[in-house]
């Protein structure tokens, strides 16, 4: 082992640099107007965590694309409930992936119910369309056409052929004037009869869409008129029975629709992709149906093409919300269709994804639901904090009792490591949304011991060097050179464990692993930039060099017989040791 220069290089400068870094972190953490406490996980403040795992059907593998689509559907559902700070995240990828939904606060059974239901993609003929906010008109007309649609929020210049149709002004706001094409007409199905019937099938979901009804009756139409899709009332999708009529909003809340039961279900889509139009009309989405789907689609489009707006629109609903409602220009036979409109590339791709995965070839299975009441969360947090304080106290007492003066250095190092860890937790919570879980708290407490261990390793090395007969100052330096290597190797193994755990595990194990990794790094930083220079400085003070018992380095306390280490002593102790080895 090469020991180039055992003396600490500029201990004061190192300490000053570390001081500045810690100060900067501290100021950043406690910057006025910001919450200076770590973000707490659900198990510490109460809330519901649901883990969903995709179960692919027919043995197909789950692609990341499908997963992303599933997440966006779930996020849409959760956001619909308007719970602040809800989170939907994924862990892992492909077959090992899972979706984690975290909803803080008290339990909301409706959210739970909505999570695992498969999102349904349906094609539904449009009966009426309006702008998203309720029109101030009071005629629940029994006709499927809405009385007076408000102006369409996003103008649809090109592909909305009859904007001035007498009876039912077109309102296809969210579609960029999308249109379905390719096909021939074939009219056969009855137009939805506006016969009001019993409203027994009417389901009100707290005023949120979709409102479902067995028949297109007066109540449904009133509900449709009352429906408020304005964006401040978050819109939420939900399972919509394909056999029922629904009144619902577009995903962006810009428009609302009264829709027929599903004419074609999403499962009949064979493929969908976004591409540039052959005719040079910008982005479009190409669709292919299965043979059954092709037949159904041909039937419906043929009939829709005959209708006047808005009833010539074919709404694509995902989870009950209208993703797009293209107009049908002609009956589409042959099983492939193109949705054109003024799409951007992203819009076209997203629509294609919805069409491809909207009906979720992956079924989501609720793997685990964990509801922690806020009181239990508080109890757990308290217990964690008490355990931490008690653990720290025990370690401090032991270190000071055993190492005396050096023990105080260790305590200062521990406190510093604790402060840095706290700052990092607050900052990571603020910047990256990292939440501290109970397992994380436990990890931090366990880390007290691991961090203190590095000081023990260093101090024992110093003592070894003194036993070798070194002067205090030389012992502090030489001990470090040797402890450093041990410390780095041991901490590297700890870090390795943390990284492997983090990437190969889920849920609470992750929180623990993250904490372990974080504290291991902090440990190395503190040992190198704080403990080492501090010891180096202290070893130069006259108090430590007196070898008084309270320094923790008094030679007689170490068992070195002649109190002053001289070369001769060394010789004897070394030879005694060697002799023992031989015997």
């Amino acid at each position: 082992m090469a020991t180039p220069t055992p003396q600490a290089a500029h201990p004061v400068r190192t300490l000053a640099i570390l001081g500045l870094i810690v100060l900067a972190l501290g100021v950043w953490t406690f910057w006025p107007g910001q919450d200076a406490t770590p973000k707490l996980g659900l198990d510490l403040r109460g809330g519901t965590q649901v883990i969903l795992t995709p179960v692919s059907e027919n043995g197909a593998t789950v692609t990341d694309e499908q997963l992303a689509q599933a997440v966006s559907i779930i996020r849409q559902r959760v956001d619909g409930f308007g719970v602040a700070e809800s989170e939907v995240t994924t862990q892992g990828s492909g077959q090992n992936s899972s979706i984690i939904v975290s909803i803080p606060g008290t339990t909301n059974q409706a959210i739970l119910d909505s999570l695992a239901t498969t999102a349904k993609l349906d094609f539904r003929p449009v009966l009426a369309a309006q702008a998203g906010v309720p029109a101030a008109v009071e005629s629940p007309a029994p006709t499927p056409s809405s009385t007076d649609g408000a102006a369409s929020p996003s103008a649809s210049p090109s592909a909305s052929p009859s904007p001035t149709a007498s009876e039912s002004p077109s309102a296809s706001p969210s579609d960029n004037g999308a249109a379905l094409s390719a096909g021939v007409a074939a009219q056969q199905t009855a137009t939805p009869s506006p016969t009001p019937s019993s409203s027994d099938g009417l389901i009100s979901r707290d005023g949120y869409p979709p409102i479902q009804s067995a028949a297109n009756d007066a109540a449904l139409q009133q509900a449709f008129l009352d429906l408020d899709c304005s964006p401040d009332l978050a819109t939420q999708g939900g399972p919509a029975d394909p056999a029922l009529y629904i009144a619902t909003c577009s995903t962006d809340g810009g428009a609302k629709y009264l829709l027929d039961p599903a004419a074609v279900q999403g499962t009949e889509i064979a493929s969908a992709q976004a591409g540039l139009s052959q005719q040079g009309g910008g982005w479009e989405v190409q669709l292919t149906f299965t043979s059954d789907g092709a037949q159904q689609f041909a039937d419906v489009t043929g009939q829709l093409a005959q209708n006047s707006p808005p009833q010539d629109q074919f709404a694509i609903t995902l989870d009950g919300l209208v993703v797009s409602a293209p107009q049908v220009n002609e009956a589409i036979i042959g099983g492939s269709a193109v949705i054109t409109g003024q799409f951007t590339a992203d819009e076209a791709k997203s629509l294609a994804n919805v069409l491809k995965y909207g009906s979720l070839p992956v079924t989501l299975e609720v793997s685990s639901v964990e509801q922690i009441s806020p009181t239990l969360g508080q109890d757990q947090l308290d217990a964690g904090l008490i355990a931490g304080a008690l653990g720290l106290l025990l370690v401090v007492v032991y270190l000071v009792a055993y190492y005396r003066g050096l023990g105080l250095v260790a305590v200062a190092s521990l406190v510093l490591a604790g402060a840095i860890t706290y700052f990092l937790l607050v900052l990571l919570g603020r910047q990256l949304g990292l939440a501290l879980s109970l397992a994380g708290v436990a990890g931090a407490i366990v880390a007290i011991g691991i961090t203190a261990d590095s000081f023990v390793v260093y101090f024992e090395r110093i003592r070894d060097e003194i036993r070798e007969g070194r002067s205090l100052r030389a012992a502090g330096d030489a001990g470090w050179v040797r402890a450093r290597r041990t410390l780095l190797a041991a901490d590297f193994v700890s870090l390795l464990a943390a990284v492997v755990l983090y990437f190969l595990s889920v849920g609470s194990v992750r929180g623990f692993a993250f904490m372990l990794g974080l504290t291991t790094i902090v440990d190395v930083v503190v040992a190198f930039l704080f403990t080492r220079p501090l010891v180096s400085l202290l070893m130069r003070t006259s108090w430590f060099t007196t070898g008084k018992p309270w320094t923790g380095l008094a030679p007689d306390r170490l068992g070195v017989k002649p109190p002053v280490p001289v070369v001769a002593t060394t010789r004897r102790s070394v030879s005694a040791g060697s002799a023992q080895k031989e015997s």
Partner: protein, 388 residues
């Protein structure tokens, strides 16, 4: 304390020496007993897996109601709850476990509990776990374990050498087996927190082992060029020298874990904190034992098979049988080594104070190293000499 300091010194110098390596059969036997018990426990009794592994539902109700009341309240819900396990946790909490329920059924149970026990529904904690989920986390934990072991073997082989890496892993598996076995024997519930604990033991057990091995590595460097100590002798000295350190690191590591255990059991009765701390406590204790009594003896056994160490052992035993076997080790040493060791030790020590003095000791340059402690400085002396 000061007596402990004196002991530490004596252990360090070798005046007091515990024969860890030589008496390895004894330690192996002790471990074998534990391992057999552990394996017997694992084979004889299944692990008491928590609902997170086998699937199921758990309701935590903050109430001082009796277990019977709790059971009645669950059964009143009118959903298939099988034979619910109702336990009192702490003083004011009931924990009710049932087979896996759907969210709807769970909501019914929650409502029934709330109504019958007079607890607000939102204060009731609910955990639902699907049956396949446990299999998945188990699989991932095993994956993690294997990946970690492979990486550690690679790292330790690189940092020490493969024989030491194998010895470290043997000790590691020893710790994990014993911990799992104790769980099987006692019937403590195994939860994800327990798994975290066991996985953490991996890192911890190795931390201790790395500290000891580092000293072994230092003590045995260049040892083959001498004839005074076998690999096992040097390793045993290293163990003795690091004994106090091992004890201290273990005590310091165990103190916070003990704090979690006490607070976790005392305040919460059960849950993440207790599960985690219990596994950690058992594992860390086993880890301390294994790094001293298992890892190093196994490492010595492996190393002693190498030709160079076998040759060394022969030379050492030849020298010992040739020398006066009775007593007075110091004088014996003085005879056999002459003044060279002293000279070298002096040179080494002087190096620290004033490297310039090293030249005075130059007569020692070609001599075999006196012992492990002087190794680094010997190198330094040489390199300094080269510079001149």
């Amino acid at each position: 304390m000061s007596r402990l300091g004196a002991l530490a010194h004596n252990l360090y110098s070798g005046e007091v020496s515990v024969d860890f390596v030589g008496k390895r059969r004894r330690w192996y036997a002790i471990s074998a007993v534990f391992l057999l018990l552990a394996l017997g426990g694992l084979l004889g009794r299944d692990l008491n897996l928590g609902i997170e592994f086998k699937g199921g539902s758990e309701f935590t109700v903050p109430t001082s109601a009796s277990v019977e009341d709790g059971r009645a309240a669950v059964e009143a819900a009118g959903v298939p709850v099988g034979d619910p396990i109702v336990t009192q946790v702490g003083t004011d909490r009931l924990r009710i476990q049932t087979p896996a329920l759907t969210p709807d059924q769970a909501a019914q149970v929650t409502a029934s509990l709330s109504e019958n026990l007079g607890v607000p529904a939102e204060d009731i904690g609910v955990t639902l776990v699907g049956p396949s989920w446990g299999a998945e986390i188990t699989q991932r934990a095993l994956q993690g374990l294997i990946v970690f072991i492979v990486l550690v073997v690679v790292f330790l082989s690189f940092y020490f050498e493969w024989r030491l890496a194998i010895a470290a892993i043997v000790a590691l598996i020893h710790d994990v087996l014993i911990t799992v076995g104790i769980y099987a024997l006692t019937g403590f519930e195994v939860t994800p927190a327990t798994v975290i604990g066991v996985l953490t033991i991996l890192g911890f057990s190795l931390y201790d082992t790395v500290v000891v091995f580092d000293k072994v590595k230092e003590n045995t460097r260049g040892i083959t060029s001498g004839n005074r100590a076998t690999y096992s002798d040097a390793a045993n000295l290293a163990l003795n020298q690091t004994l106090v350190r091992s004890i201290n690191t273990s005590v310091v590591a165990l103190l916070p874990i003990a704090a979690i255990l006490v607070v976790g059991v005392g305040l919460l009765g059960a849950g993440t904190l207790k599960d985690l701390a219990l596994a950690l406590f058992i594992g860390t204790a086993a880890g301390t034992y294994s790094s001293i009594f298992i890892a190093t003896p196994v490492a010595c056994q492996l190393q002693e098979r190498r030709p160079e160490y076998q040759a060394l052992a022969k030379r050492v035993s030849a020298r010992r049988s040739g020398a006066d076997t009775s007593g007075k080790p110091v004088s014996k040493r003085a005879q056999s080594r002459g003044g060279t060791a002293v000279l070298e030790a002096e040179a080494a020590v002087d190096t620290d104070q004033d490297p310039g003095d090293a030249d005075e000791g130059e007569s020692t340059s070609g001599v075999a190293p006196t012992g492990p402690r002087q190794q680094p400085k010997r190198n330094q002396t040489r390199s300094q000499r080269k510079k001149r």
